[in-house]
């Protein structure tokens, strides 16, 4: 390696530095809203865009390492930029470029925390995420990881005047730390006997017996807590609605992906071996998460909670893919492992983009209407056409429809499932069709969720009179949404080019590539063209051509006459906005079919009520199955400890005296 040359790693560190500088300027001038909004955030977006370029270059280049003169005297930070880290840097840069641009038009001074402080927290968050990705020893990793958790905690509680937001922030912090403990223990298991915590040494150490499995489980729990894997998902639907929308977008789009990065780093890079049943467990956990998330998403009435549950679903799909990749890898099917891994990575960047787009769109809706509840929105496509049409692209991508990007990753994952029968284990061969069935069920339900999301917010009649005053998003916000929507379309129609980049990661992790099996620049063929091929660009062109041709033919041979009138609705004279489906109504069939998943408290009015009231509360069973007992136990223990606290100084002195005597006796 040429030490004098300016490497991509140096460039990445400069990006981190630039973000820290932008944050510092923000905190130095905390009340200068115009400066922060119109200079600092756009500058930060430009830095993010540079990070995309740097990441893409690093993806094509060779790994770089460096030691930074930071940290404790004998424990300097090691950093390394390899294809895996580079790919996640691209994800970070691409999503944050859009989100920062949106933030330029979004943050106002009225939200509890002064804008300068938000600016600092936001950029520390970004910098910490970038540093997590390049960290090359456990110490640097944990420092960056905790910085990321803390920065995001403060961002979640930006509007800290509301008690429920503080509560959500606390829950998030709690689960983040449960996860961090598991990750710390995982690194403890992986360390080399000499107490060296660099990743390079962890790779070299070969542990036998149960240790690799223990490390895998700790990683699954630790990173799963951050990613929102069931049953550690409960913080997501609380924290996302509480946070400002750009922060929700950043957390859902990027921060969850750093957990996926960590899981991939530990299982595919640091651990020298893999065991097949790790894959089976990751597969099962992923599928449960996907189904659980999507079923809960259908019954939500708050638009940001709905998106939070949808994120849980997508994380489930990603973890399923990781499980499948591990399975294939342990049986020596590198090509299939590469297909599954490509699906994982592709879905990671897809979800980062379309979920950011959707969260930002909810931010625009929230600013314009001050309303988060789906039951009080509606018809916004007329008042906010830009946001609505761009959100439609995100909605279709999220529903996994061709020719957009969500479909590509689902297609790849299903292809990976379809080529499983070549495995030597009959148990797995039986499991896989069932898993594929569960996966397509989750994917189909995602369509239901997205129709609900878009239809109730943007279509129909406005459910409240105040919605008539809603206004479209500002300039920065529009541009940001456009950037993300265009990225979704491009990722959707150019999969071959994207996979050409992803193959560098595949090569590094499983030693095989997906590209170069007989496809062309426009035709994606992961195994061989006669087995499966897909070309979204051709599909898009053909559909658009057919649609345009039909419009032309109809107008040419018949006419284009059109008249506006009142809606027909089977001739019913009275039609009020109240007669449309509410969010509860739209989710009701799913609630009924999957009743067993929910804990429902429902109050139905009797026919003789003069003032009939209908209430329904749908809750997560995990609260009562897992969290409430743990909380009760902790409470009980705390009360036992409380018994020895008498509040009198003499008693405490007695304790100290007794302790001293005991220690003297023991140590002597």
């Amino acid at each position: 390696m040429n030490a004098a040359a300016f490497s991509t790693l140096d460039a990445t560190l400069l990006v981190v530095l630039a973000w820290m500088i932008i944050g510092s300027i923000g905190i130095a001038l905390p009340r200068r809203l115009t400066l922060i909004a119109h200079v600092l955030f756009p500058a930060s977006a430009a830095v993010s865009a540079m990070l995309v370029v740097i990441g893409a270059m690093a993806l094509l280049g060779s790994p770089h390492t460096a030691v930074l003169p930071l940290g404790l005297p004998s424990l300097p930070f090691h950093v390394r930029l390899d294809p895996l880290a580079a790919f996640f840097l691209v994800v970070l840069g691409a999503a944050s470029a859009g989100i920062s641009l949106f933030s330029a038009g979004y943050f106002r001074s009225s939200e509890g925390t002064p804008p300068g402080l938000v600016c600092l927290q936001y950029h520390v968050f970004l910098a910490a995420m970038a540093f997590v990705l390049v960290a090359d020893d456990a110490y640097a990793f944990m420092v960056a990881w905790e910085t990321m958790a803390l920065a995001s905690f403060f961002l979640v509680t930006t509007d800290h005047r509301h008690p429920e937001i503080r509560r959500a922030g606390f829950l998030y912090l709690l689960i983040a730390h449960v996860g961090a403990i598991a990750i710390l223990l995982c690194f403890g298991v992986l360390q080399d006997p000499g107490g060296d915590y660099t990743f390079a040494n962890m790779r070299a150490v070969h542990r036998d017996g149960a240790w690799p499995s223990i490390a895998f489980f700790l990683a699954l729990v630790g990173f799963g807590a951050k990613a929102g894997v069931v049953p550690l998902h409960v913080w997501l639907p609380e924290a996302h609605p509480a946070a400002p929308s750009p922060v929700s977008a950043l957390m859902s789009g990027v921060m969850l992906k750093t957990a996926i990065y960590g899981l991939l780093r530990v299982t595919f890079d640091l651990l020298h071996t893999q065991v097949w049943w790790w894959g089976a467990i990751a597969l099962a956990v992923g599928l449960v998460t996907a189904l659980y998330g999507v079923i809960f998403a259908t019954v939500q009435t708050d638009m940001k909670r709905l998106l939070a549950y949808s994120s849980i679903e997508n994380i489930g799909i990603i973890v399923t893919g990781i499980g499948l990749a591990i399975l294939f890898n342990t049986y020596g099917k590198e090509l299939l492992a590469a297909v599954a891994l490509t699906a994982v990575l592709y879905h990671t960047i897809n979800h980062a983009l379309f979920k950011s787009l959707l969260f930002l769109a909810t931010g625009s809706v929230l600013h314009s209407t001050r309303e988060r509840s789906l039951g009080k929105l509606g018809g916004l496509i007329h008042r906010m056409p830009w946001v609505a049409w761009l959100a439609l692209i995100g909605t279709l991508a999220s529903a996994g429809l061709p020719p957009l990007n969500g479909f590509v990753s689902e297609w790849l994952l299903l292809q990976a499932f379809l080529f499983t029968p070549s495995l030597p284990q009959s148990f797995i061969n039986m499991l896989v069709p069932l898993a594929a069935a569960a996966l397509v069920l989750a994917a189909a339900l995602a369509g239901y969720v997205m129709v609900k999301f878009f239809g109730i917010i943007f279509l129909g009649q406005p459910r409240e009179n105040t919605l008539a005053y809603a206004h479209d998003a500002g300039r920065f916000e529009r541009v940001a949404l456009c950037v993300l929507a265009v990225a979704c379309v491009l990722l959707g129609v150019l999969p071959v080019q994207v996979i050409g980049l992803l193959d560098r990661v595949n090569q590094a992790l499983v030693g095989s590539t997906v590209g170069g099996h007989g496809g062309s620049w426009v035709l994606l063929a992961p195994i061989a063209p006669d087995r499966a091929s897909y070309s979204p660009l051709i599909v898009l062109v053909v559909i658009v051509a057919v649609v345009l041709l039909t419009i032309q033919v109809v107008h040419r041979y018949y006419h284009g006459r059109l008249r506006r009138g009142a809606p027909w609705d089977c001739g019913f004279p009275l039609q009020t906005p109240r007669m449309q489906d509410t969010a509860e109504g739209f989710g009701q069939p799913i609630r009924q079919v999957f009743e067993i998943f929910f804990r429902i408290e429902r109050h139905l009015p009797s026919p003789f009520d003069n003032a009939p009231r209908y209430t329904v509360r749908v809750e997560d069973r995990w609260w009562y199955l897992l969290y409430a007992p743990v909380a009760t136990a902790v409470d009980f223990l705390a009360r036992l400890i409380g018994l020895i606290q008498q509040g009198r100084i003499a008693v405490y002195l007695l304790y100290s005296f007794a302790t001293l005597i005991a220690l003297l006796y023991l140590v002597r």
Partner: protein, 316 residues
């Protein structure tokens, strides 16, 4: 890619566009005969479509662009789907661009657009229809995918022409996996095409309709396109079923015009028989309550999964 391939592709799409309303008319005729009624002429669907094209479109005051674009998107996706399904030939250049999974994706695209359009006006029936359509779809779509997975596993490919060629050259015995898949596919087709027992295409009774509730607000050219696209959807599903479970007579290889010429009457013959079967099923069964639909479709889904398991474990 060859010119003959493109030609046979275009021929197939044209045939689908032309024959789809005829299939609809034939089924309606059979239904009428089976229930001892005087049958409408077989060409009635064509006349309806032409009549609708001539009328002036009336669109609700608060309709947005989604409402106006949805019929075209639905029609476009169904026409693309007609190009992928090997109904008369397997030499289809476009099929390389979209395999069986993408075919299901195209159907889903049409469904999502029409459901969104139904919610666009904000009437009670529209949103009710949209909700029910998505409800039926969330179970039917995975079941259809599972059926396609079963045949994809048999032929080691998700490309429909390859699947059809493999299935057509297998020994002519009843395979348990294909039998399960066939039953599942029939059930899914009934649900997806708004037929009895899930929906009734002939009713406008408010409490029971699904598809009709969604398209209540449409008129004139938009309605004509939706009707045509629905007919095309039924035609596509019939052709998928025939191609997977009776894959005989479909022309293979490129440029074999005699085979293609022979494939057309074979297809028409199979469709005539299929239409009678569909009309028979519809006549002898009653419409299910909407909340019995999950049981019906759940059965289809389980049968399809069973088909895949049987194929996977027993290789049969």
């Amino acid at each position: 890619m060859s010119y003959t391939g493109i030609l046979s592709q275009l021929l197939q799409v044209a045939l689908a566009l032309a024959l789809a309303p005829l299939l609809m008319g034939w089924i309606n005729q059979c239904r009428a005969w089976l229930s001892n009624k005087r049958a409408p002429p077989i060409t009635l669907p064509y006349r309806t479509i032409v009549k609708l094209f001539h009328k002036d479109a009336v669109v609700a005051n608060n309709a947005s662009g989604v409402f106006r674009i949805a019929p075209y998107v639905m029609f476009g996706s169904m026409a693309c789907a007609a190009a992928i399904v090997p109904s008369i030939a397997t030499d289809l250049p476009f099929a390389a661009a979209a395999d069986a999974i993408a075919l299901v994706g195209l159907f889903a695209l049409a469904r999502v657009f029409i459901a969104l359009a139904a919610m666009d006006i904000g009437t009670a029936f529209g949103s009710l229809g949209a909700r029910r359509e998505m409800f039926v779809g969330f179970l039917a779509e995975p079941a259809l995918l599972m059926v396609l997975f079963t045949v994809a596993l048999i032929s080691n490919s998700t490309s429909l022409p390859t699947i059809v060629e493999t299935l057509a050259h297998r020994e002519l015995v009843i395979y348990p996996s294909l039998a399960f898949a066939g039953v599942a596919f029939t059930m899914v087709s009934l649900a997806e095409n708004a037929r009895i027992p899930i929906d009734n295409p002939a009713t406008h009774l408010e409490l029971t309709m699904i598809h009709e509730a969604m398209v209540l607000e449409y008129s004139a050219r938009h309605l004509a396109l939706i009707e045509w696209a629905s007919a095309l959807k039924l035609f596509n599903y019939s052709c998928i079923g025939l191609a997977l479970f009776l894959p005989f007579g479909i022309a293979e290889g490129s440029g074999d015009w005699i085979a293609i010429a022979l494939a057309m009457p074979a297809l028409i013959g199979k469709l005539l028989v299929g239409g009678v079967a569909l009309a028979f099923i519809e006549t002898v069964s009653a419409k299910l309550r909407i909340f019995r639909a999950p049981e019906f479709l759940g059965t289809a889904f389980l049968l399809a999964v069973l088909a895949m398991l049987v194929n996977q474990l027993l290789g049969a």
